[in-house]
């Protein structure tokens, strides 16, 4: 069936909730309203108020209770309506979700999937365009999954809903309805921790995830037209990260461009560059290039186009790296 990302996530939630009676969806407006992006549309009618909970308006309350639910037998799937409002809940994610397994030496765990609509480029109000992967990647004990297509969204969510650890499921809202693609109706899983080589090439490796994969594809196609052979890797999951796939590619191309829409300083590109230095220093033909947002507060919508990496900037990064 040909569906967009919202439909893919919705379908997956429906199927997995039928399969596993322990799955409980919760958050602000996820029930009657079906979510402000309609991702949970129809679930309330199908599964009822006990399994699709319209919670009071409190991110801290949502994640705190979701942790308790998960630790004592349910599989909670809390939604934070926009990632920019997650900070209230961060305390619980870091201090407890990430640590309960270790604290109890495995006696308790938190099989919770936090759905986080993230990313900018949709001309939204302040606090609605964040890309905060770094704040979670810095915390041991949290998995982070970030699909870049409807197919990946369904398969990665299915895996996340079977995972025994807390998973942050980043939904690039810029891609929610950006395109449709063929997605199997039946259950399938995409392994957490494995990157996806979207396109093989020999001159430069481009690494991206989520919304930036979509934007990078355009730049990669343009670079190919200009005679640069690009290997494009979509990470799919950032924690655990598929370092092996990065090593395999960069040791072949010797050149790497990382694209992310988070700010430059301590963005995941910094970690990738450092790992490449450690592992592939002798293969490198050029410094690792980062194409990122600037180290400033995300602007209001009128001027946000200057902020996020676009096709032009990514292409420039690829060309500079290829010609270095």
């Amino acid at each position: 069936m040909k569906i967009n990302m919202v439909e893919a996530i919705n379908l997956c939630l429906k199927q997995e909730m039928e399969r596993d009676k322990n799955i409980v969806v919760m958050g602000e407006d996820v029930g009657v309203d079906g979510g402000v992006f309609r991702v949970t549309d129809g679930l309330y009618t199908k599964f009822g108020r006990d399994r699709v909970i319209d919670t009071p308006l409190s991110e801290s309350g949502i994640i705190g209770t979701a942790i308790g639910m998960a630790a004592l037998g349910l599989r909670s799937v809390p939604e934070i309506q926009f990632q920019g409002f997650e900070y209230n809940a961060y305390h619980h994610i870091v201090q407890h979700a990430a640590r309960l397994r270790n604290r109890t030496r495995g006696a308790l765990n938190v099989p919770m999937v936090i759905r986080l609509p993230y990313s900018g480029g949709i001309k939204a109000l302040e606090h609605h365009s964040e890309s905060l992967e770094t704040v979670y990647l810095h915390i041991p004990g949290l998995k982070l999954v970030c699909p870049s297509s409807p197919y990946d969204a369904k398969g990665l969510l299915a895996s996340s809903l079977k995972d025994e650890d807390p998973v942050l499921y980043f939904e690039p809202k810029r891609l929610y309805r950006a395109f449709k693609e063929e997605v199997p109706e039946e259950h399938y899983e995409i392994e957490i921790g494995k990157a996806h080589v979207l396109k093989e090439g020999n001159d430069v490796t481009v690494i991206s995830w989520g919304a930036m994969t979509y934007i990078s594809k355009e730049a990669v196609a343009e670079a190919e037209k200009q005679g640069i052979s690009v290997e494009h890797i979509d990470l799919r999951t950032l924690s655990p990260c598929d370092w092996e796939a990065i090593h395999k590619s960069v040791s072949k191309t010797g050149r790497c461009v990382v694209v992310h829409e988070a700010v430059k300083t301590l963005g995941f590109g910094a970690e990738i560059a450092a790992r490449i230095m450690e592992k592939d220093f002798l293969s490198l033909e050029a410094p690792v290039k980062r194409v990122t947002a600037w180290d400033i507060t995300i602007p209001y919508p009128k001027t946000e186009d200057y902020y996020f990496p676009d096709k032009k900037r990514i292409l420039k990064g690829i060309i500079e790296t290829a010609k270095f």
């Binding site: 602000e28 309203d33 319209d54 430059k264």
Partner: protein, 354 residues
């Protein structure tokens, strides 16, 4: 030992003008006609401006907007009850307050048209920028009030939120701190019945929101939030007392969000037409119009002139805002007091310099 009662509380409800414009003469504040007219003018202007913003958003001339319709009496009544040195910490739904306080209307449009310059409010107007995260302004207000008192300034500090905001920890932190510090704060909860799609009854099991103040050791009162005189009187008394050092008050203003949460929301998905119709009969402007008519202030001619004046103000503010430009480079200029070398380099890279 017998069990003894250790706490007893009560919460009053105040309405001065009912939905049909009938006034309770015992509670009616004896306000000068000039102020009454100002109240009406701002409510009408607020509504016309609000409707225009919706049109602008629907036609791609404004970004996501949070409508005010139905809640004009709270914004207008509370603001006009303050003195110029009182501080106001609004949410996104009360941005019109900036204009009541003296900000040009076109600059509020500039903010909703996606430019930070719109929130560069003249500090002499004593207004905090709107808070998009829920309930955070309440705690900032308590801190602001502490600062004013430390500097010997006897001002009240107003902060606003919706019924949904009372579920956030920050709301409770604010009330707790304000109680302990005896802060000169007036907390105004616009209970408009809906936090996007979640009804008030799913937000809290408390019968009233006002009663939450009792748990923190100070007074909570419920008012008809669609009655501008009730809002005005409650806020005036609370703010006057706050300035005298008598501590904080929580005012729950009962109202209704007539429109969507924001332009991105579709309320038909979660609430009935009947409910909306019930509240339309309780419109804040209509009843005040009847009140003013009985006072001999309002008539049809008065209305037509006022509407024409307001429409012109709104149109002018749109024209001015649409002509407004903000230098994109400014996004780099306000990160720190002094731009760092690294920020400068990134700015140059962004704009293709060097």
């Amino acid at each position: 030992m017998p069990i003894t009662q250790v706490f007893e509380g009560k919460v009053d409800y105040m309405q001065i003008i009912d939905k049909d414009g009938v006034v309770d003469s015992k509670l009616e504040p004896k306000l000068p006609n000039e102020l009454l007219e100002k109240m009406y003018r701002f409510m009408v202007l607020g509504r016309i401006w609000d409707k225009k913003c919706l049109v602008l958003q629907r036609t791609g001339r404004m970004y996501t907007y949070a409508p005010l319709e139905g809640q004009e009496a709270i914004a207008v009544g509370s603001t006009l009850a303050t003195e110029s040195g009182d501080w106001i910490f609004p949410t996104y739904r009360e941005s019109f307050i900036y204009h009541i306080r003296g900000t040009p209307l076109d600059m509020i449009n500039v903010a909703w048209m996606g430019m930070e310059d719109g929130l560069k409010i003249d500090p002499s107007l004593c207004c905090f920028p709107i808070a998009v995260p829920i309930a955070t302004q309440f705690v900032h207000a308590v801190g602001g009030a502490y600062s004013l008192r430390a500097k010997g300034i006897k001002s009240a500090v107003l902060s606003y939120g919706g019924d949904g905001s009372t579920s956030e920890g920050d709301f409770h932190d604010a009330l707790n701190f304000a109680g302990v510090w005896n802060s000169p704060c007036v907390f105004i909860v616009s209970n408009n019945q809906w936090a996007i799609s979640v009804p008030r009854k799913w937000q809290t099991k408390s019968e009233t929101i006002a009663q939450k103040a009792l748990a923190y050791g100070f007074k909570g009162i419920q008012v008809d939030g669609n009655d501008v005189l009730a809002v005005y009187s409650a806020v005036k008394e609370a703010a006057d007392n706050a300035r005298l050092g008598k501590g904080p008050v929580l005012i729950e203003a009962i109202t209704y969000r007539m429109g969507p949460h924001t332009t991105a929301d579709d309320p038909k998905k979660y609430r009935s037409e009947e409910e909306v119709a019930y509240w339309r009969e309780r419109d804040p402007i209509k009843r005040f119009q009847i009140y003013l008519q009985k006072k001999g202030i309002w008539n049809e001619e008065y209305e037509q002139k006022l509407i024409a004046d307001c429409a012109k103000i709104v149109e002018d503010a749109v024209t001015k805002a649409e002509a407004y430009t903000q230098d994109p480079k400014d996004m780099f200029k306000f990160v720190f007091a002094k731009m760092t070398k690294d920020t400068k380099e990134q700015m140059d890279e962004c704009f293709g310099v060097g």
